[in-house]
Amino acid sequence: MKKLFVVVFLVLLLSSFVSAKLVVWCSENQVPALERLAAEFERDYGIEVEVQQVNFGDIKSNFLVAAPAGEGPDIIVGAHDWVGELAQDGLLEPLPFIPQRDAYYDVALEAFSYGGRLYGLPYALESIAIIYNKDLIFEDEVPTTIAELESIAMDIADDEIVGFIYDAPNFYFSFPFIAGYGGYIFKETADGLDPTDIGLNNEGAAKGVSLIRSWFDMGLIPRGANYALMDGLFVEGLAAFIVNGPWATPGYRDAGIDYGIIPFSEIELEPGVTPKPFVGVQGFMINSRSKSKIEAVEFVVNYMGSYRGQKAMFDVERRGIVRSDLYAEVEAQGGPEIYDIIQFSASASVGTPMPNIPEMAAVWGSMEDALNLVINAQDTVQNALDAAVEKIKAAID
């Protein structure tokens, strides 16, 4: 007991004398790339950068506890949809300036912007697309419209094989069809998203949800469809078409499934109209309460934001690229991993960033309720969507 107290005391004492250095919280995969750039930074600047591995799911919640107390890391690596909440809490430092701004895709920078300021430096983006099993769908019958997909899937379905299945009650996966017809979550304005203007019960949204409902009514998607079911069926080669993201394809490759990817940019709802998926963006954010803000900004902007920094991140994590110059180089390489990246990036090119304002928390549950009611034929499309919008408005009021 006594020993313990002495040790605890010494640790606490020592921790208050630590000299200036940068601390980065990132997930496991990113550690090698960050450490490489950190060594360069240390050489050039004489400031140590400590890369700490934290589970992705814990980074935001731990940051929310540590940062207000004036502790925690100087830099976090995380998802763009944290920005609204963290910036509103006053915990993020806006980036004053990034060199070679034009090299970045707009969608990636837009995702990290909140209230007209840029709160993070992106390094990866991801989006979902339609994935099909090449053993069931021949190369020459890959659909280019949703109607074609429906008829092919209906033809192929039998007692065992499912033509088309995805996690339809999940708003994330159903959003592309809702947004494709003109539904939107929050209206985009010059200085950010307007949470008072919700477009989830407009004509386009209703059209999209009706389409989703028709898939259940015609028996295309089995009732009770969810993510685990879809994933399981596809891995066993029992599903022809699914909707999923780049995180799933390595698993399908390992399972020996010969799959192809149809980006949403190459399948039409109606002539000239494609589904619009959410785009999620990963990046570096800076703690506004950091004592080494200046150095943190320099590390993020000059090192992680450089072509080499972005390439190092891509080498350890094969995710969608946010810089056009790097994309061009990678595109030329070829190979199954690169094929995935190219297809999912194409899908992202017609997508829209997932709203990063805290009000988004109210949307998921409400829309999931609406989708469930419609899919289970317990309510009409318009009624369910009107109720969902009411719920969202009441929650964010």
Binding site: S16, Y45, G46, Q88, E295, L373, N376, D379, A395
Partner: protein, 581 residues
């Protein structure tokens, strides 16, 4: 013996001294951070522990110290904290105290004026014993006209509690061709004859300052680490220089700190006369120095007006909102509307969960208790399994493997397979979803009931049954007159406890249905299987970020309901008195 005692005493005192030093230090840290409530808890704890150890009369209480520490830290303080938070707006956007927010508005917000003046800079350093020091002179070169200004090392005006400079100030002095006056000292300027660049500054007292570093001079990049850690990191990071026009210069973020530029603080403090009260009053307000607009404060946040004349929230702070969170609970139509249906379902859910798992557990316990049964141990082990598997896993198996409408075992093999009926929408229909959650919860709960019943059954003496059978009582009579009443003495308080647990069994609901299926046409997030705790969780955390104040108010109310109900239950069943006798 006495030596041994002396050593023990010395050890105790040494231990106590270390403990006290640690506590005093913690208390001091908490005081500095302004966290007074936890500080008070630690003060009370320290005093009590010291008294118990030093006062001979307090000797018996020594053994309570570990329990006491845990009671304070794990039970009383969190309760107190919950109460405290329930009266504030603590949550997303309101994480800091007002004082901290004002400090940050004054220190962290800057704006670049219309046409900023930009200065390149170079550092001239004193070298002592061939080693760079942190004594330096800084040369500013105005980008517009190339004019040169000099400043001595800025003076530290404020430091934080770790000794880091958080504010430093200096003044620019225009330099001549060959000399410059900085304050009361004069320096001779040595220039490179070819480029006219300043190489060395020599003070009239003889010290020389050598050209050391300039951000835009690649020849000097080898000196960057020393500049960054010793010069910029310590002295220039928070330094402000006043130029000849009286403008403030800071390291410019726009060039990533490679130049200085005129940058103004966005917010300042000023005193205004407020006429809104009964009589004019002098108050201090935060104002926007760029637009000259006074910030307004309401709902625990500062509001400013943007370029388009629209109001926006700059930063929120934790403010005391009195009973507002509780009033919200009573007045919010989202709470009031579905409250009674949720409330009655919560009671039904908790009551039926207890009833079903108890009946099932008791029946199995009686079976297992039968002397004629073979392989008891095996059965008992198997029946404990639902309890032993983490519910996070088993509930997922129920959800996807058993209840799925198309692929679940129940529908595929029983309902449509065996009976040829229409598939049941287990989790999609309000009634069946309730049946489903009760089924799963019974499955999860019966092993516990079975275990306690088994124990209680074994404690009933066999003589009672012998006497009863001699008197000619049937098995049913024996159960009704002997087993059940004696069982209830032990089990009744556990049933009450189980009821209270299920009343708040968030996991049981959330893992399976997340409160769903939704109610058609409802404008609240309430679903058919939502119980109080799961519904209020949705209200507090599925709205605009995290609302800890509201969540705390809710937990206090739920605590009151559960405590009140448990108390009533103990009273009515009078089992409490039975046990305590």
């Amino acid at each position: 013996m006495t030596v041994k005692k002396l050593i023990i005493l010395m050890l105790v005192i040494a231990f106590l001294a270390i403990f006290n030093a640690f506590m005093v230090w913690s208390i001091f840290v908490l005081y500095m951070d302004g966290r007074f409530s936890l500080m008070v808890v630690l003060v009370i704890l320290t005093v009590m522990i010291d008294l118990f150890v030093l006062n001979p009369k307090g000797y018996p209480y020594r053994y309570m110290i570990p329990a006491l520490v845990l009671l304070f830290i794990l039970t009383l303080y969190p309760m107190y904290y919950t109460f405290e938070v329930a009266f504030t707006n603590f949550g997303t956007g309101h994480l800091f105290t007002r004082q901290e927010v004002v400090q940050r508005l004054l220190n962290d917000y800057f704006y670049v004026p219309e046409d900023p003046t930009e200065y390149d800079f170079s550092i001239f350093l004193r070298i002592r014993d061939y080693k760079p020091t942190d004594e330096f002179i800084i040369l500013f070169e105005r980008v517009d006209d190339g004019k040169e200004f000099f400043s001595a090392r800025p003076l530290a005006e404020a430091r934080d509690n770790q000794g880091n400079i958080i504010s430093a100030a200096g003044t620019l002095h225009e330099g001549m061709q060959n000399n410059v006056e900085i304050g009361d000292r004069s320096y001779r300027i040595v220039r490179d004859p070819d480029t006219q660049r300043v190489i060395t500054l020599v003070a009239d007292t003889g010290e020389a300052y050598q050209y050391f570093y300039a951000p835009k001079d690649p020849d000097m990049s080898a000196n960057a680490p020393h500049f960054i850690s010793e010069i910029r990191g310590k002295w220039l990071r928070n330094a402000e220089f006043i130029d000849e026009a009286g403008n403030m210069l800071r390291l410019s973020p726009q060039t990533l700190y490679r130049t200085f530029a005129t940058i103004e603080r966005q917010y300042g403090l000023r005193t205004i006369t407020d006429f809104s009260g009964q009589r004019p009053e002098q108050i201090t307000v935060v104002y926007n120095r760029e637009t000259d607009n006074n910030l307004t404060e309401r709902d625990g946040a500062f509001f400013d007006i943007d370029d388009f004349g629209r109001e926006f929230s700059v930063m929120g702070y934790i403010s005391n909102v009195g009973f507002r969170q509780f009033r919200r609970l009573l007045e919010d139509p989202r709470v009031r509307g579905p409250f009674f249906s949720i409330f009655s379902w919560t009671f039904t859910w908790a009551g039926l969960s207890v009833l079903f798992s108890f009946v099932m557990g008791l029946a199995l316990a009686i079976t297992l208790n039968d002397r004629l049964l073979k392989g008891k141990k095996l059965y008992r082990t198997l029946l404990i399994i639902p309890w032993a598997i983490p519910s996070f896993i088993s509930v997922l198996v129920w959800k996807n493997g058993l209840f799925n409408e198309t692929y679940g075992i129940l529908n595929r093999f029983l309902v449509t397979g065996l009976f040829g009926a229409e598939p049941i929408r287990w989790l999609g229909d309000a009634f069946w979803a309730r049946v489903s959650v009760l089924m799963v919860n019974t499955w999860l709960g019966f092993p516990y009931m079975m275990t306690v019943c088994l124990g209680a059954l074994q404690s009933i003496p066999d003589e009672f049954y012998e006497a009863a059978s001699i008197d000619g009582a049937s098995k049913v009579q024996q159960f009704g007159r002997i087993t059940f009443p004696l069982l209830m003495v032990t089990i009744a308080p556990l049933l009450v406890g189980s009821f209270a647990f299920n009343f708040n069994n968030f996991v049981g609901i959330f893992l399976l249905t997340e409160g769903g299926p939704p109610i058609p046409g409802a404008t609240t997030p309430a679903g058919s299987t939502d119980i109080l705790i799961s519904y209020t969780y949705k209200l507090a955390f599925y709205g605009r970020g995290q609302d800890f104040g509201f969540a705390s108010a809710i937990s206090i109310i739920i605590f009151a309901i559960v405590a009140g109900f448990s108390w009533l239950n103990f009273k009515v069943s009078r089992s409490f008195e039975e046990v305590s006798r």
